[in-house]
């Protein structure tokens, strides 16, 4: 089956094109060995099926990030039959930088000149025929968001697959560098190479770390001492070449665009500029952002929780009832009925009630992202974040973390230097995830039924406070001195495409469902078993294995005011999955999954003060196993995953103890 690779800058509409081509026939996986997502899909054209791989959006194909390396490795070694390079017509010079690198690779490229409608709005005109001639590649105008030009693009891409391509566009890097390249290529003749010789030569002169490594390890070339000397020479003088090469690429581009792209002499003030005057206003920007976030959360809870959540809850209950009755009617053994009804439906059901919340949250976030506003949010927050040693994009990952810490941690990928990314990852768990909400709601119902909103807001706010505080501390200690800088594109405001928003929402929700189906299912099962061992013990009693574990841990929590084994069991369950806590507390305290009996029991076992300290503990302590696993994957290190698990527990414990002790001293109970 023929494969098409999609390559392009972020914000060029590449993903929109991918969605338009593949519709529902796509899936997301991972490139082996790295944390970069692999998006693949299929479409049918003229009765043939084609594979499409959506490579990560990048500005360049250097060796600086996993995204870049994955993209270029696929183009060079993954054997795509054709590469569609999506170019933003309103920003053509910069977008063509990537194109020149594709040409250097000798890839079979067709350029999709996308967002041509926006270019028209800005009075930018193109001589597409000459542009295509000078680049040496076909150029097809498209408007991916409106499905225009796509058929043309696909037709041309497919016919390019069978053609033999010989690039006439030749980029000259100046006499000096060109002759160096020939010298290097001389050594590469007839050698066993993984990549085209021309490309290797340029990369070596650019000081590309990855290619340097590959060449240094190349068996064929290792034996030549002369070549080793040449390599060394190059490495010593790379500083003279690398920026020169970049300059020459831009020169190549400018020579082409000055004859084929026509801009009005005065820069037109666009709608985006007008809107930005308000949204990035010196004084208004921040309050507007706060307001938008408030609206997002209110809507999420109003629709997701109150309306749809209730419906989901009743649905689950009804389903549970039907299944239970069925099992009884076919004389199933008691333990099976218990496992299915209490364990599965009760445990996993609690999770399913969440889904409407998650769906709404992701849809709203998706709309903000697709419209281009999120970049402004990062901009507006950057100032405050800087004062804390963090940056604007960190805040975005924190907001995503409010839904669930797993995508929250993954959202740190937008931070392009290690220090910022590590800190954002480590503080993400303090963003109170959606799964903790039911826990707070139980305690609020027990002790603060009149002040629910205020209590909830305080908890979330505390989470943010601690996150920012720890962020500052990490910035000054663990990652002191590492560089941090802020550079970010502010794309034009665009009407969010329904397809993109739904697709994005679905990707996130299905991720959540997968986790629910696997981790939470496993957790619920294990807890169910531990609650009933040793055999014959009363389920969820202190004598069960679960109870024994709880009793063992419990003393730690005495200074925090909830040193009883049941609370310990609840928190223990929460380390596996936060969604399991309420059901577990219910079972150990009251023999039910939740509801009024649990609330009543909580009222008798806790006090308002210990309820608060317990909620603080819940807010701050070790994140769920799925999050820890994600941190391990994203940081490529078990050390940081373990560190997170331990330090969050420590902070949570200290805060919970402080709350209880100080509260007691002040006379609260």
């Amino acid at each position: 089956m023929n494969t098409i690779a999609l390559v392009g800058n972020p914000n060029s509409g590449k993903t929109t094109l991918f969605n338009a081509l593949t519709g529902a026939n796509q899936h997301v996986g991972n490139w082996p060995g790295v944390t970069v997502e692999k998006k693949e899909g299929q479409f049918e054209f003229n009765k043939k099926i084609y594979n499409v791989v959506d490579l990560p959006g990048t500005y360049s194909l250097g060796a600086f990030s996993e995204d870049e390396i994955v993209a270029r490795d696929f183009i060079l070694k993954g054997n795509p039959d054709v590469v569609i390079n999506v170019v933003d017509a309103t920003n053509i010079e910069r977008n063509l930088y990537l194109t020149t690198q594709l040409l250097e690779m000798g890839a079979k490229v067709i350029v999709a000149l996308n967002m041509i409608d926006e270019a028209e709005e800005r009075d930018i005109k193109f001589d597409i025929k000459t542009l295509s001639q000078k680049l040496g590649t076909p150029v097809v105008p498209t408007i991916a968001s409106k499905n225009k030009g796509i058929e043309d693009l696909v037709k041309n891409a497919i016919s390019l697959m069978d053609k033999d391509v010989d690039y006439k566009a030749h980029i000259s890097y100046g006499e000096n560098i060109d002759s160096e390249m020939e010298r290097i290529k001389g050594y590469l003749v007839n050698k066993d190479l993984e990549y085209p010789a021309n490309w290797i030569a340029i990369k070596l002169l650019e000081g590309d770390q990855y290619v340097n490594q590959v060449i240094a390890n190349n068996e064929d070339l290792k034996s030549s001492n002369e070549f080793k000397k040449v390599l060394q020479e190059i490495q010593d003088s790379v500083n003279n070449y690398d920026l020169e090469i970049v300059d020459k690429r831009y020169e190549f581009i400018n020579n082409i665009t000055k004859k084929t792209v026509f801009r009005p002499s005065e820069i037109v003030e666009t709608k985006t500029d007008k809107i930005d005057k308000i949204l990035t206003h010196k004084y208004l920007g921040l309050p507007i952002f706060a307001l938008i976030m408030l609206i997002v959360f209110q809507l999420t809870f109003a629709i997701g929780e109150d309306v749809l959540g209730e419906a989901a809850a009743s649905g689950i209950e009804a389903l549970g009832g039907i299944i239970e009755n069925y099992l009884i009617s076919v004389n199933s053994p008691d333990w099976l009925i218990s496992f299915i009804a209490d364990g599965l439906i009760g445990g996993v059901g609690a999770v399913v009630e969440f889904i409407p919340l998650i769906v709404v949250l992701y849809m709203l976030m998706g709309i903000l992202e697709d419209s281009g506003y999120m970049a402004r949010a990062a901009y507006v927050m950057d100032n405050i974040m800087r004062a804390l040693g963090l940056q604007g994009k960190t805040f975005i990952s924190m907001i995503v973390g409010f839904g669930c810490n797993v995508p929250g941690v993954m959202a740190t990928r937008t931070l392009d230097n290690r220090k910022d990314r590590m800190i954002a990852t480590l503080i993400n768990p303090f963003m109170s995830c959606g799964a903790k909400l039911p826990i707070y709601l139980v305690f609020i119902a027990a002790f603060f039924p009149e002040h629910g909103g205020l209590v909830l807001f305080s908890i979330y706010f505390l989470g943010i406070l601690i996150a920012l505080l720890m962020g500052k501390i990490f910035s000054e200690t663990l990652f002191k001195g590492e560089s941090s800088y802020f550079i970010m594109e502010l794309p034009p405001y665009r009407k969010p495409t329904l397809r993109n928003v739904l697709r994005n929402m679905w990707d996130n929700v299905s991720g959540f469902l997968k986790r629910a189906g696997t981790t939470i299912f496993a957790v619920v099962t294990i807890l169910w078993i531990l609650a009933r061992l040793p055999l014959g013990v009363e389920p969820y009693s202190q004598g069960s294995v679960l109870g024994i574990i709880g009793s063992f841990i419990a003393p730690i929590f005495k200074p925090a005011g909830f040193g009883n084994w049941q609370a310990a069991v609840g928190l223990f369950a929460g380390i596996a999955a936060k969604e399991a806590v309420v059901a577990t507390l219910g079972m150990v305290y009251a023999g039910v999954e939740g509801g009024v009996e649990l609330v009543n029991t909580i009222q008798s076992v806790f006090t308002p003060l210990t309820a608060v300290s317990f909620m603080v503990m819940t807010l701050l302590y070790t994140p769920c196993a799925a999050t820890i696993a994600t941190i391990k994957k994203e940081t490529n290190s078990s050390k940081w995953a373990l560190f997170t698990a331990v330090y969050t527990f420590f902070i949570a414990w200290v805060m919970a103890v402080l709350v209880f002790q100080i509260g007691s001293l002040l006379g609260f109970s």
């Binding site: 500005y59 360049s60 250097g62 600086f64 309103t90 920003n91 010079e93 910069r94 930088y97 800005r122 500083n239 690398d242 920026l243 970049v246 300059d247 831009y250 400018n254 801009r263 820069i267 037109v268 666009t270 985006t272 500029d273 930005d276 990035t280 010196k282 970049a375 901009y379 507006v380 950057d382 100032n383 800087r386 940056q391 604007g392 392009d416 560089s483 800088y485 802020f486 550079i487 970010m488 594109e489 502010l490 034009p492």
Partner: protein
Amino acid sequence: MSKINLSNLHPGDKGVVRKITAGSYATKRLYEMGFNTGANLMVVKNDRGPIIVSLSGNKIALGRGLAEKVIVENN
């Protein structure tokens, strides 16, 4: 026509990028984003926080520290 740090320009000022004095990684990033030598830019906003610059109508926000290292010829 004088050489000046990008961070010292005012909204509405136009200039041409002449040199970048940042570390090699940051410099490459700037180049890839369109801040190559010879690029025409206009400052959109420079009061609090990152500076917003327009490169042929396309906006990029640049942290102050980084903007200090972009040397521009004012015109």
